[in-house]
């Protein structure tokens, strides 16, 4: 469902991704590990279409369509979801109205009518409960003054609401304590199915102990240097990257 071919990306004139190749099939969970500066986050941002991430050459296809020619919002509407490492604050915008608006943007692109307020509240309650999110968090401003854990849970909640086909998680485990990590991982596991694929970017083994990957890729200097199954993750955890 996702094919990355010979991808070269520069950021501020510095080449970060070098001839990257990666194939991800339907329903597969791929973990990307690697030291700081190896290009892990760059792949996430490039796929999502962040400005200033310049694709010099290469191709990316998502569900058979060229991804790179699309605007960031079109990529989202086409099923790509990036859970941010540092979710952005939107002062003045209440979380509930924000969530409703993004849900409606996706409904609109599927030519559905906007969601009814009562129905939305019901879904929001259900999905928040799964993540141990108190409802009063939704009357606060988006991510503003949220703890690290609250921010990450809010990302997973959005992931659940938007029903994407490709989920990229950029260090979703950072900033979570053990309990929050478990709750979050449980919620993510519930999202796993035969149609939905995941790219999990992480430094640590602990998240992968909860969410078992089908493949583990090790990144170094902007390309994949090794691919294996979940045992590769344990090996790296013990031995390091060298």
């Amino acid at each position: 469902m996702l094919e990355i071919k010979n991808l070269n990306v520069t950021v501020e004139e510095k080449q970060i991704l070098k001839n990257l190749n990666l194939n991800i099939g339907k329903g597969e969970v791929h973990a990307i590990m690697g030291p700081n500066g190896s290009g892990k986050s760059t792949i996430a941002h490039t796929l999502a279409g962040k400005p200033n991430y310049n694709v010099e050459s290469g191709e990316v296809n998502l569900n058979g369509e060229d991804l790179l020619s699309k605007d960031p919002y079109e990529r989202s509407l086409n099923g790509l979801f990036l859970a941010f490492q540092y979710p952005i604050e939107l002062p003045g915008v209440t979380n509930a109205s924000y969530l409703k608006q993004i849900v409606n943007a996706h409904r609109k692109s599927r030519k559905e009518t906007p969601i009814d307020a009562g129905e939305f509240l019901k879904i929001l309650k259900e999905k928040s409960k799964l993540l141990d999110i108190p409802m009063d968090m939704h009357s606060r401003f988006v991510n503003a003054g949220f703890s690290g854990g609250e921010k990450k849970k809010n990302e997973v909640l959005q992931m659940d609401l938007l029903d994407p086909s490709l989920i990229i998680m950029d260090e979703t485990d950072s900033g979570l304590d053990v309990d929050a990590l478990k709750t979050t991982a449980d919620a993510i596991n519930k999202l796993r199915n035969d149609e939905r694929s995941f790219i999990i970017i992480t430094h640590y083994l602990r998240l992968l102990e909860y969410i078992e990957p089908d493949y583990v890729h090790v990144f170094q200097n902007g390309s994949v240097i090794e691919t294996g199954d979940k045992t590769l993750a344990s090996r790296i955890d013990h031995e390091g990257y060298s």
Binding site: A48, G49, K50, P51, Y53, N54, V55, L68, S69, K70, D71, P72, Y73, R75, S76, L77, F81, L82, F84, P87, I88, E89, L90, P91, G92, V93, Y98, Q101, I102, A105, H106, S109, F141, Q158, L162
Partner: protein, 480 residues
Amino acid sequence: MNKVSKDNFTQEKYKYGFVTEIESEKIPKGLNEEVIRLISKKKNEPEWMLDWRLSAFKRLENMSVPKWAKAEIDEIDFQDLYYYSSPKDFKEKPKSLDEVDPKLLETYEKLGIPLKEQKVLAGVAVDAVFDSVSVATTFKEKLNEIGVIFCPISEAIQKHPELVKKYIGSVIPVTDHFYATLNSAVFSDGSFVYIPKGVKCPMELSTYFRINASETGQFERTLIIADEGSYVSYLEGCTAPMRDENQLHAANVELVALDNAEIKYSTVQNWYPGDENGKGGIYNFVTKRGLCKGKNSKISWTQIETGSAITWKYPSCILRGDNSTGEFYSVAITNNYQQADTGTKMIHLGKNTKSRIISKGISAGKSSNTYRGLVSFHKKAKNAKNFTQCDSLLVGSECKANTIPLTENSSNSSSIEHEATTSKISDEQLFYCMQRGLDAEEAQSLIVNGFCKEVLQKLPMEFAVEAQKLVSISLEGSVG
């Protein structure tokens, strides 16, 4: 790659820019005694009103236009303007809506203000002012039953001279400044409201100002009096056709709140702002002032300023009554070459008076947006308090925002709290929202509406949604 570019968006045309093809009757161009006498005659005014106008005109001869606003204003030739224009054959205001020219009804229908009572928003009475005359007022009889007077000021001058005489010019002195004095000399129509003792006005009252004729200034005069223990919520809206020329709108609005009375005055100002190169648009030079005359009285101004080439207005409160309260909530949005210099004056005269100022300025394009405010505590204003918050949001890098808050303090037991912030919509915020499926315009409008929500919430419910849309439309084409 995929950088959002300006070309992706075509600016939505100003939706109210049409002209109503209706023959108008104008008094010849120019500002002189003869013109003032003619206006007064057209309005069938009593002698005292004409004298009042003429005394204002005499003062005007020795005054010059104020220059201190942070705005570049082309010189206005006051002799080259029409001061009075009305639809032809409009000798007397129609007694009922059935007699109103269908073209006028259609105009207001197109503006989203249906005047037929069965169609209007429940709970909102409308006075419709077209150029220099009021063409229709809805729900007048119903309001009359409870003693509320809601009519064009020209009618009030004839039917309620004692009230008009007592209060007109009592808040904005005839000699206040050039435009206020000009208005006093040549004002044509506007609304008059009187809420009797103890009455909570059961409907929103609103006036809808429309400039239609070309080369014509609109000089509206509005006077609202809330007698002891009464309450009224009033809203005004304004639009004008798209023209290459600059047109002048110089209004005077006076509010008087007696003991324990409260007036809530809201404005959604959407005059034609000019085109994307800064050609045309309304010069909106307005004097608005409220007097909290009685104890425990309250006056609250809420304004959403999105239109006009130049906006120059400072809705103010004179807090004379002990324990009285003044509030000012403002959102001013400028785009392209628009200029806004707006803010408020809170003059604390009485004991325990309180004021609150929340100003949100949003500038985009090459526009300039200034908050100018004065908080003044006089000697007798013991325990007076003010809270001021001025936030500016910049969209793009070619616009300007200024904050000029002044304070004068002669009372030693008073307190002023002031907070100010300037921020930019960050690329990170836009990208975050876009990653969740919002396009660039939707993302920006979400963030901007969040920025000014605190003020939008102060609007009467019926108008809050409209205002939110207006905020988004005003900034269209500015994401870059």
